[in-house]
Amino acid sequence: MLNDPRELCARANSIRRRNLIMLNHAGLGHTGGDLSATDILATLYFSILNIDPQVPDKADRDRFILSKGHCSGVLYTTLAEAGFIPLAELDTFMQPLSRLNGHPNRNKVPGVETNTGALGHGLPVAIGTALAAKFDDATWRTFVLTGDGELQEGSNWEAAMAAAHYKLDDLVLIIDRNRLQQGDATERTMHLEPLADKWRAFGWSVREVDGHDHAVLLGTFRSVPFELGKPSCVIAHTYKGQGVSFIRDRAEWHHRVPSKDELTIALEELGDNGHDPAL
């Protein structure tokens, strides 16, 4: 477990570098959303989640559900950095018969809790895992990450009601609020604001944070549940493509991937990661 936000920052940088290399190699993937969620995943996997790569299915593990399954790239690189799958396997991303499919598959990849890729599925499943823990008076928790555009799916709001109804204070929803979806800005497509008020009205305890500030993320995730008897909602303000100037905050990078030249510039911008001289 890392306690120093600077170490988390280095981890996140390493994940970004590996992820971009992997996306370039595959020629496919979702660069923007991977990069917006990287700091959240790095903080969860290296400082918050009670998980064990040696026993990925241990019964009392904290559950992390990536509802925005199109960002399998950041999940796989994080799982590889955390020791769930070999780092070398990242080269097989999207190759024929690879375990690393474009969207995560729990039957193939250790550490994946549920198969996602169709949006609006993660939160209902997370209600189920959180309920299961409650039934058993267990202490493990459920963290689920959704996109913001994803919240346009009605299933999320059905789940939102259920979470408050069942007082699931062992459940933490993190919204990757990067303000962009596939084709355009969320607010131009189907507006979501006032987002925090909506979650409050549905009975959740809400905090809005900088989704790229590791110290803030660490403090936030360490203080869940925000209120006893209520599910916690973290609206993480992020940028799609965070970390690389020409990718950041641009809708067209939703599912564009870096070319060889773009990768070189991106890696230069990200700079050394201090972990692995091979990168």
């Binding site: 024929p96 690879s98 499919n101 474009g102 346009q152 799916e153 979806q181 596939q182 189907m190």
Partner: protein
């Protein structure tokens, strides 16, 4: 090299021409403007494109309401999410209510390849053709796509169309006339019949050429309308040739092969082979790689046909 086409272009162009002539035509999408290639439609008719965001159930319900209000809505969304997520809206709001909605399942079948089973739409024909009132169409090339979209606009009633993004060659002659419910015979032959639709019709034609090298004359039918099905063409194939091989970019459970078999076993039973995805979630791989992986290569199709013929010879 034969030139290959993305049928979404023919689809989008047809939609724009139709919309110029008929103000009732509107589109309904789920953050899928780019992936449906209807950016031009949106620019020319900004007030007639409804983008509901990522909300397929709402999308189909809204389309039914628009139809009720006298519009002709074309719902343009990735087929996997349109059919799987909004199936009850398709059944109740569109089919049961008999709303004049055209459901255009974009990038159907295995087109999304390495994005995996959440994005594969290999059950959509089974689901939609099981629903009463539905007309189900799978065009095979840009010529047929354009005509099918025109036919859809003029047809009154619920319809599901598969619009693929997988590059396909032109297989129909320029004077081809698409008719709802009518199979097109692309090659005459009386030894065996190959029945296909959509992106794999070209593979049936290629297999027929391989069969001809073995002295077997295969009839090739493009069965673009899966429902209502062309019973007459199927019965003729069953009576005039010694067996039927179907191939589809779909699971073998409930799709084109099943639809053909339902006619064959109740009229003139002959041996069949049903080629397609064998009831499993596909492994990782690109769309063409997966088609080959599931045995939809011209050689495998030829061999299935030869097996069928051999099995019929009395020992």
């Amino acid at each position: 090299m034969t030139q290959l086409f993305d049928c979404r272009d023919a689809f989008a162009n047809a939609l724009v021409s139709l919309a110029r002539a008929d103000r009732r035509i509107v589109t309904v999408v789920n953050d899928s403007i780019g992936s449906s290639k209807i950016t031009n439609f949106g620019e020319e008719f900004p007030g007639r494109l409804v983008n509901v965001g990522i909300a397929e159930q709402n999308m189909v319900g809204i389309a039914a309401g628009l139809a009720n209000g006298g519009k002709i809505p074309f719902v343009c969304a990735a087929s996997c999410f349109l059919t799987a997520r909004a199936l009850e809206q398709i059944k109740v709001d569109v089919a049961y209510s008999n709303a004049n909605v055209k459901l255009c399942g974009m990038s159907s079948g295995l087109a999304y390849g390495e994005l995996g089973p959440t994005h594969h739409s290999i059950e959509d024909l089974a689901w939609t053709r099981a629903i009463a009132n539905m007309t189900v169409i799978v065009p095979a090339d840009p010529i047929e796509t354009e005509q099918a979209i025109c036919a859809a606009a003029h047809f009154k009633g619920p319809m599901f169309l598969r619009i693929s993004r997988m590059p396909v060659p032109i297989i129909h002659a320029t004077d081809y006339h698409f008719e709802i419910g009518r199979a097109a015979c692309l090659r005459e032959g009386n030894d065996i019949t190959l029945i296909a639709n959509g992106t794999v019709v070209i593979r049936a034609l290629q297999a027929a050429m391989l069969l001809a090298e073995r002295g077997v004359q295969a009839r090739v039918l493009n069965l673009a309308t899966v429902r209502p099905i062309d019973r007459e063409a199927i019965v003729q194939a069953a009576t005039q040739t010694s067996g039927i091989v179907t191939l589809e970019e779909h699971t073998i459970f409930g799709g084109l092969g099943s639809a053909v078999a339902e006619v064959v076993v109740t009229t003139h039973p002959v041996p069949m082979r049903i080629l397609g995805i064998q009831g499993v979630f596909a492994p990782t791989g690109s769309a063409p790689w997966l088609l080959d992986y599931f045995g939809l290569t011209p050689i495998a199709i030829r061999d299935a046909a030869l097996e069928l013929i051999e099995a019929r010879q009395p020992v």
